[in-house]
């Protein structure tokens, strides 16, 4: 039974203990169990865990692992949903929880330098009091790290206006297998010297290098924000309203949508609350949009008026707007979606596919058609503004629907790719979508990716078994 734990040789164990003294190295089986899984719920046990506190340790570690051909799995808070931190080939897990210092916040350069283990929301809070702003806001912002966000190129609600994590990364220090350090990018907001390896590493999911330091771009904090939650009779009306908003020249900071099944789940959830009356519209609407505008107070007021006029094109059945702290209840509805779906079925599989913005209607209707064909309910919500859908297949494992759900997932991916979309807009490929990757990425592209990987990591020790590696 103890073979469950991949074993390192005693000299390898000694090496790790010397390099990471005290509680810096874990080798006891019971201590390793907590490092087996991530939010994908997949699991595999590592041979050891180490906790660096500085770059020099990472260099030594990767020099050694490169020589010894030991697999290395970077791990921050393990909130990724696709198995990117699961040590499927044993080896060493590198926990970044102790590299969590903010090294510099510079309001003149509009730049911050951080270690990768800083929790994103804590960093944003530190900026706020100085009138600064780091926009990327994955829903996991309070529980995930800047390093994890960069390694997955995390998106978020504000991606529509501000872009994803990659767009806010100016540079980084990355340790390569063999121990060499790349100092990439600079504190300049524009920099086109050489190939853009900084952007290449953003989203590399621990397969190319370990980050020891990140240089991030900051913005001035917008003075205020306002949100509007709008219900429509059906999804086509909602899309027409969204198009009218863009047509009016507005670029909201966020634009989320919810389809009729999503609203049904929310109605079941909020129907149980004391203030259920307030949410009666959830039963009347067949689709909803949630907008957020931000900027100076004068601009936000004016834009909100334009927005309210524009959405009238979709003949809304419900509209509520709010500013500042009062926006929270509106976003509460958005945050409640994921758990609410369990009112409709005990199991769900959620896929973060993306399609070109003009194909969203086809994607949503296509998903529902797949569900009908296989006798399953499906719900769709997500970031309408950038075509990134959370397509949810609802099922009941106990009633033997797991296989149908799997088929639905495969069909969904086929549909999305036929619309010119992608398997994943945010969460990545990891283990969960590896088997479909070749459906999207052709042999020539895959070959270049693999050759690139070999340049960084000739022995394939970095996060092996994932993505294309």
């Amino acid at each position: 039974m103890s073979t469950l734990f991949p074993k390192l040789s005693s000299s390898q164990q000694r090496f790790l203990r010397d390099l990471f003294p005290g509680s810096g190295a874990l080798l006891a089986p019971e201590e390793l169990v907590g490092f087996a899984g991530d939010a994908s719920q997949k699991q595999a046990l590592p041979g050891a865990v180490v906790r660096p506190v500085e770059e020099a340790q990472l260099r030594e570690l990767l020099r050694w692992a490169h020589l010894e051909r030991v697999p290395v799995y970077a791990r921050a808070r393990a909130t990724n949903k696709v198995g990117q931190t699961v040590p499927v080939r044993g080896g060493v897990v590198v926990s970044f929880l102790r590299m969590n210092r903010v090294l510099d916040i510079d309001p003149q350069d509009f730049v911050a330098v951080v270690q990768p283990g800083v929790v994103t929301a804590q960093f944003q809070q530190e900026l706020e009091s100085r009138g600064l702003f780091y926009p990327p806001d994955p829903a996991s912002v309070k529980i995930s790290t800047l390093g994890g966000n960069v390694a997955t190129c995390a998106g978020g609600m504000r991606a529509l206006k501000y872009g994803v994590t990659r767009d806010h990364l100016l540079g980084l220090r990355a340790v390569l297998p063999g121990g060499e350090v790349l100092a990439l990018g600079s504190r300049c907001h524009k920099d086109v010297s050489g190939l853009d390896l900084t952007r290449l590493l953003a989203g590399s999911a621990g397969t190319l290098a370990l980050f020891s330091e990140l240089t991030l771009k900051l913005l001035p904090r917008p003075e205020t924000s306002a949100s509007a939650l709008v219900g429509f009779a059906g999804f086509p009306d909602a899309l027409e309203a969204a198009a009218a908003v863009f047509h009016a020249g507005l670029l909201p900071a966020a634009l989320e949508f919810m389809d009729s099944v999503t609203l049904e789940a929310l109605a079941a959830e909020f129907g149980r609350h004391d203030d259920a009356e307030q949410y009666s519209w959830l039963r009347e609407a067949g689709a909803a949009l949630l907008f957020r505008l931000d900027g100076s107070r004068a601009a936000v007021d004016a834009e909100m008026q334009t927005l309210e006029r524009a959405v009238s094109r979709g003949k809304p059945v419900f509209l509520e707007s709010a500013t500042g702290a009062d926006e929270e209840p509106l976003w509460e509805v958005r945050r409640a979606i994921s758990p609410s779906l369990f009112h409709l079925a005990p199991d769900k599989s959620g896929e973060d596919v993306a399609v070109p913005r003009g194909r969203v209607l086809e994607a949503v209707q296509g998903l529902h058609a797949i569900g009908r064909e296989l006798g399953l309910r499906t719900a769709c919500f997500g970031h309408l503004g950038d075509g990134n859908l959370h397509a949810n297949i609802l099922f009941d494992r106990a009633r033997g629907q797991a296989e149908a759900a799997r088929q639905a997932k495969s069909k969904l991916f086929g549909l999305v790719l036929s619309l010119g979309g992608t398997l994943t807009g945010e969460h990545g490929i990891g283990l969960s979508k590896k088997e479909w990757m070749a459906d999207q990425i052709g042999p020539a592209e895959m070959d270049v990716m693999q050759r690139l990987k070999a340049v960084f990591d000739p022995h394939g020790i970095m996060n092996p078994g994932k993505e294309w590696a």
């Binding site: 039974m1 469950l4 509680s23 390793l32």
Partner: protein
């Protein structure tokens, strides 16, 4: 796994939300101590029996402060601290181990005597340290902490208070007797004005044995409010016993306390320690303790924080009060924080609420791994810099803060500032 979801109960989905809530992770960066890791380890022991050394696994999983912060963020409704308690309870060697730690550590850790006030009668504590007795576990743990600090100077007095019936109405405590067809055993149920005439004061182990002045103040405040107290000798609230995995002892303590409550006509039980209150309210999680659901609901309703009644008074703050007083919110505050509300009323702009962090008391972790508990305590201490005074509403936090605060900061239960 073939069992269906309802049968299995909620499962950990490894989402990682609880990592950000756990003071141990924050203080140490050690993910093996995280709630998620504890839950995983407990599951692993079941799924793969014989793979791990159970002793080592149980020891690791039990490194927990019992603060309950993880449960508050878990969307799956899991309570890792209960998982830990279950592991402790199930582990055959745990009890012996605990008593061994008691004997070994208590005599060396206690008394800390960092700054002797010379006022404490240590004799009963010495015998406590030598004699393991489950019901005294909470007392022992608290006695390890901060007893050598001088008590605080009082600077607040209660000037006026509304009539008890008005206080009941304004505080929203339900004064009606429930309609129990067929009746419940015991004397008839108190309601209305009777509630104020037979209040039971729940002193907790600290108030009874370590800081009797807290109990004295609580008693005189009740008198000043116009409430009459009925003498009651409650057992331990049971929370320390529960987190220590001494579930049978916890059950016995709970039964005893409920008997006392019933004998008094199921009136108000007033307590001044957030952890005791949390421990008392948690009885409803054990439905078999009650005659029926309504009795459980009545217990939940009638166990009341002292601050909830006191905050409707009018107070006078003397001129020599400190300019700023910090407030430490105990981890175990459950629902509205009545202590904070009282202090806001009394101290107004003098009150500074500290960032929400654990004090590092840690219950049985104090015996299992005091260094770990101290790592958490140090982070709280860093927040106290420059504050002349820090108050709280939990007796364990008050003692822990007293043990760890810098010399310039006086610390105490808010009762200490009342004359």
């Amino acid at each position: 796994m073939s069992r269906d979801k309802d049968e299995r109960g909620p499962e950990c989905i490894l989402c990682g939300k609880c990592l950000s809530a756990c003071p141990l992770v924050e203080a140490t960066g050690q993910e093996e101590l995280a709630p998620r890791s504890k839950v995983r380890l407990a599951d692993f022991l079941q799924e793969q029996p014989g793979t791990l050394d159970e002793q080592d696994a149980a020891r690791l999983a039990s490194l927990c402060l019992g603060c309950g912060r993880c449960a508050r963020v878990c969307a799956q409704g899991l309570e890792p601290a209960r998982t830990v308690a279950g592991l402790r309870a199930a582990h055959p060697g745990w009890r012996q181990w605990l008593w061994k730690q008691w004997i070994d550590r208590a005599s060396t850790l206690w008394p800390l005597a960092r700054r002797s006030g010379g006022m404490l009668d240590r004799a009963p504590l010495r015998s406590l340290a030598r004699r393991p007795e489950p019901g005294r576990l909470g007392l022992l743990l608290k006695s390890l902490q901060g007893l050598d600090r001088c008590p605080m100077r009082a600077y607040v007095s209660l000037r006026e208070a509304p009539e008890p019936m008005e206080v009941l109405a304004r505080s929203g405590v339900d004064a009606q007797a429930p309609d129990v067809a067929g009746g419940w055993p015991g004397p008839s149920i108190q309601s209305g004005a009777d509630l104020a005439q037979g209040v039971l004061l729940f002193s907790g182990c600290a108030g009874q044995h370590l800081r009797p002045e807290w109990d004295a103040k609580a008693r005189s405040l009740l008198v000043a409010l116009g409430w009459r107290r009925t003498h009651a000798e409650f057992a331990c609230c049971g929370s320390t016993l529960g987190t220590a995995g001494l579930l049978a002892e916890q059950h016995t303590a709970r039964e005893r306390n409920l008997e006392i409550w019933r004998a008094g006509g199921r009136g108000l039980v007033v307590a001044y320690c957030a952890s005791c209150l949390n421990g008392l309210w948690a009885y409803v999680q054990e439905p078999e303790l009650f005659v029926d659901g309504r009795e459980a609901a009545l217990w939940r309703e009638r166990v009341v924080p002292l601050a909830r009644l006191l905050k409707f008074g009018r107070f006078m703050v003397s001129d020599d009060a400190p300019e700023v007083a910090g407030y430490h919110r105990p981890c175990h505050v459950c629902g509205a924080d009545h202590d904070a509300a009282l202090l806001r009323t009394v101290l107004g702009s003098r009150l500074r609420e500290l960032p929400d962090r654990c004090c590092g008391f840690g219950g049985p972790l104090r015996l299992a791994d005091p260094a770990l508990a101290d790592a958490v305590a140090r982070r709280r201490v860093a927040d106290l810099a420059g504050l002349p005074q820090v108050l709280t509403g939990c007796t364990a936090c008050a003692l822990q803060l007293a043990a760890s605060a810098p010399e310039q900061t006086t610390t105490g239960h808010w009762l200490d500032i009342f004359s």
